[in-house]
């Protein structure tokens, strides 16, 4: 297999990471909504933490995207 093809396959595999981050972000918001419906009074106070969790989960997906971009355009 030539190097270019391997790099493109690698970039495609990196997309799995983006999908995993989607699961993570969905998990963050899903759990928040679940517990916010149980105790709506406490929900507003936790919005900061919600977005911290979102940012942490999203970052890893973005890293996967960076890996894909590096494989396509740099390698």
């Amino acid at each position: 297999m030539d190097a270019q093809a391997a790099a493109l396959i690698g970039a495609g595999l990196a997309a799995i990471g983006a999908g995993m981050a989607a699961i993570g972000v969905g998990n963050v918001f899903g759990s928040f909504l679940e517990s916010a419906l149980r105790n709506p009074g406490a929900a507003d106070g936790q919005q900061g933490r919600l977005f911290i969790g979102f940012a942490a989960a999203e970052l890893l997906g973005l890293l996967a995207f960076v890996v894909a971009m590096i494989l396509i355009f740099v390698v």
Partner: protein
């Protein structure tokens, strides 16, 4: 990999082009006025206009003043919640940071491309720009931390109640997670903006190529892609707001670490 002729190159939109002063050099570095600099200037001008228009300090605020006060109140509340009383003095910095990123993200989404020869440019999709913003936040954390706590600032890396044998390992891990902060801060904003814009351009190439090929591909490919593009554009407006908010939020959290240690 260069795009074929006639195809949409999704990376073309990030190209930095000098507008004036291609040969302005300082110590071997070119300082031409680029499209990136132009859009930064536009952002600053619009932001200034927005703020001055809303700072009339009327007792009964009009709509404009209400909009500005909503934003200032939002940042004020965020710092109050995350840092406490000491957070008030960081309102100017975090507010400028938030508004600058927000305006930049939203301006980059403006459909000014319909005017021939004009291209919207999202400078927050460049690591150099977001990197400088992140380093700014990080250096404020360092300066405040060492100013307030001196050498005790290093206790930030050893949380309370760490068992003594674990201290070296915990110290290294915490130090690493601390040093990685400016990178993760800058990377998050830059990649989120870049990914969205690449996605929009890829979809636009589906629309253009599909519509040019035949009636069948217009119906099957181009129209659904166009509908998806509209939806993704709406999502991008949301992302523009969220990323600006996350940048400001994380900055305030990091400043909280510097103010109060653990």
């Amino acid at each position: 990999m260069a795009a074929d002729a006639g195809k949409v190159d999704p990376m073309k939109q990030f190209q930095i082009e000098p507008l004036v002063g291609q040969n302005w050099d300082i110590a071997g570095f070119n300082i031409a006025f680029t499209n990136s600099a132009l859009w930064m200037a536009i952002t600053v001008v619009l932001l200034t206009v927005f703020m001055i228009g809303g700072m009339k300090r009327q007792v009964v605020p009009g709509r404009w003043q209400m909009a500005v006060e909503t934003f200032t109140g939002f940042i004020d509340d965020m710092l109050e919640a995350n840092i406490g009383k000491a957070g008030r003095k960081y309102v100017p910095y975090v507010f400028s940071l938030f508004m600058f990123i927000l305006f930049a993200n939203l301006l980059g989404l403006l459909p000014v491309g319909i005017i021939p020869g004009v291209h919207a440019f999202t400078f927050t999709s460049h690591f150099t720009v977001t990197g400088v913003l992140a380093v700014l936040s990080f250096s404020i954390v360092l300066i405040v931390g060492f100013w307030k706590h001196g050498i005790k600032f290093f206790t930030l890396f050893v949380p309370h109640g760490t068992p003594v044998p674990m201290i070296p390992a915990i110290f290294l891990i915490e130090l690493f997670s601390f040093m990685i902060r400016p990178f993760s801060l800058a990377l998050r904003l830059f990649v989120a903006m870049m990914a969205g814009h690449v996605l929009l351009k890829v979809l636009s190439s589906f629309v253009i190529d599909g519509a040019n090929y035949s009636i069948g591909t217009t119906l099957i490919v181009a129209l659904p892609s166009f509908a998806l593009m509209v939806a993704i554009s709406a999502l991008e407006i949301l992302v523009a707001g969220i990323q600006a908010y996350v940048f400001a939020l994380l900055t305030s959290l990091y400043i909280n670490d510097a103010e109060h240690l653990h």
